[in-house]
């Protein structure tokens, strides 16, 4: 099993969700986060007072998938979240040791 953690542009969330649904991936966890990579922030001005905002709002999508579907999901995620501009985000993949479905104690890939 692999855990896929994607940090994406907030306005791309719906597109990503639809694309994952289309390839049969339903489960995911979404968090509002702030951060930045190479993208520079932007300037805001309130009554002449300037503020540089470098931590920008992003959405973190987390999902755990069977090993054999990982590449397909990565491809779909990246394609649907991409605008081609700086600030599109990043995807990280982790090994997952175990999964438990709390309702009935299913284990491993059948718990996904």
């Amino acid at each position: 099993m692999k855990k896929i953690e994607a940090i994406i542009q907030p306005f791309k969330l719906d597109e990503v969700k639809e694309a994952l649904k289309a390839i049969g991936i339903d489960g995911m966890t979404i968090t509002d986060v702030r951060g930045h990579g190479r993208q520079k922030g932007h300037k805001e001005v309130y009554r002449g007072q300037e503020y540089n905002v470098d931590l920008l709002p992003k959405v973190k999508v987390e999902l755990v998938v069977p090993d054999n579907r990982c590449q397909e999901v990565l491809h779909t995620l990246a394609a649907s979240a991409r605008t081609g501009k700086i600030g599109d985000g990043k995807i990280f993949v982790y090994e997952v040791g175990e999964a438990v479905r709390i309702r009935n104690d299913d284990r491993g890939e059948s718990a996904l």
């Binding site: 805001e44 001005v45 309130y46 009554r47 002449g48 007072q49 503020y51």
Partner: protein
């Protein structure tokens, strides 16, 4: 009517005439009183929720309740003061500088009109209308010491300020026999229809003194202090705009054509100033902001306040436009240059806009709008520069200087008293934690419940 019939009815004609006169007066009083009660409610709406929302949105999230409380609590505190002695010290007697205690505890303030001020409405209506002005004026100052003043100090400050600065200024400009009251034999006849000097210069200048005396907020200007919710400020500014119709058009003290004229001037001033500020910002900074548009409209409302019952619509547009540009300059350039932390720009908008408006009132006031100033033969006297009376600009400048002086000296004195009595600023820890939690034990936004 046949002559015989007239003769027949003549015995009771005078009685019927008297009855007719009385019912005409009652009808006018009913109309005027209806408008003045609505206007009073509109002016109260400017403080709560108008100003409370406007200021509340501009502070950081941790101080939203404390800031709103500073406006709201004055609705209660100043009402008490007004009932006990405030109204009397502003409008009792006929001395040049301050009222007396003739109306203390609202003695002699009842349903019968007071012909010295408003002959067609109950004296109580006039009293409660003026109360709403006495409430919002100190509330405006809170924009300067937002996010760092103790609640106890703010209460003590307001109580002293109402008596030492507001009541004398209101009496000088609007009270019978007041030094600056053009319509009641003032030595220096100053034109201030709805409170350019009484409300906006006093509050704005006092705000500047408070900002200088208290010092900057911790971390200002290096630490970001963005407005936490401009949507609140937007709603507040819109309520202020609407409430201002009560403030200015209500200052006609009757449902008259003068009230209409003041209503129109008020609206035009606000509209032009919103555009003025936005244009200044667009040119200077590249983007027209929402905060700029609403700040501009308030600046225009401030500047048109003293002029509203004296000027025609196009001068009102000009005054508004000038206020939009001028207050933008004061808030963006002058504040930065001198480095004072007038947190919510109470001085930049009210002090600057009020002074500009008071001076321009001397330029554009015309007897074509307000014929209230009459010579012995009952003819309307010329008012401002456009009527050919250049000296009025000087009178206005003297009026402004007196308002500046009284506000600055009075506020400094009051701050020293409050500082000695209870201390002005919250502790560093309280300021960092936020006044909502540290002073009031609550939070404005609780998302987990």
């Amino acid at each position: 009517m046949p002559a015989g019939l007239l003769a027949q009815s003549s015995p009771d004609a005078s009685a019927r005439l008297a009855a007719l006169e009385a019912s005409t007066q009652a009808a006018q009083s009913a109309g005027d009183n209806a408008w003045m009660l609505v206007a009073s409610a509109l002016v109260l709406m400017m403080t709560g929720p108008g100003l409370a929302l406007f200021y509340g949105g501009l502070v950081r999230r941790k101080n939203v309740l404390a800031t709103m409380m500073q406006s709201f609590i004055l609705m209660a505190v100043v009402t008490m003061l007004w009932a006990v002695a405030g109204y009397s010290l502003a409008f009792g007697g006929s001395s040049p500088f301050i009222g007396n205690l003739h109306f203390a505890f609202l003695h002699n303030v009842g349903g019968a009109p007071n012909p010295d001020y408003a002959p067609t409405i109950p004296h109580q209506t006039f009293m409660v209308y003026q109360l709403m002005f006495a409430i919002i004026t100190p509330a405006l100052i809170s924009g300067a010491f937002a996010e760092r003043m103790k609640f106890s100090a703010m209460l003590l400050f307001t109580i002293l300020w109402s008596f030492i600065v507001y009541c004398p200024m209101a009496h000088m400009v609007w009270g019978k026999g007041g030094l600056l009251n053009a319509f009641s034999g003032g030595v220096i006849p100053c034109l201030d229809f709805a409170g350019g000097t009484v409300v906006h210069i006093t509050s704005g200048v006092s705000a500047l003194v408070c900002a200088l005396y208290l010092g900057r907020r911790l971390g200002y200007p290096a630490v970001p202090m963005k407005p936490h919710n401009l949507v609140l400020s937007f709603v507040g500014a819109c309520l202020l705009w609407v409430g201002w119709f009560g403030f200015n058009a209500g200052s006609a003290l009757a449902a008259s054509s003068l009230a209409t004229s003041a209503f129109v001037a008020t609206h035009f001033g606000a509209a032009a100033a919103a555009l003025g500020w936005v244009c200044a910002e667009w040119i200077h900074n590249g983007r027209p902001s929402v905060l700029g548009a609403i700040s501009g409209s308030v600046a225009g409302l401030v500047a048109i306040t003293p002029a509203s019952g004296f000027v025609q619509p196009f001068p009102a547009l000009f005054i508004g436009l000038a206020a939009g540009f001028f207050c933008y300059f004061m808030v963006v350039s002058v504040k930065k240059k001198f480095g004072y932390d007038d947190s919510l720009d109470a001085f930049g908008v009210h002090g600057s806009g009020g002074t500009l408006g008071a001076l321009l009132t001397g330029v554009f006031a015309t007897s074509a709008v307000n014929g209230g100033l009459k010579d012995a033969a009952g003819r309307a006297l010329p008012l401002g520069l456009v009527d050919g009376r250049a000296s009025q600009v000087l009178n206005q400048a003297i009026g402004c200087a007196i308002a500046w002086g009284l506000a600055a000296i009075g506020t400094l004195l009051i701050l020293k008293i409050c500082d000695a009595a209870v201390g002005l600023r919250v502790s560093k820890e309280q300021e960092m934690e936020g006044l909502d939690l540290s002073l009031h034990g609550e939070e404005g936004y609780i998302f987990e419940s």
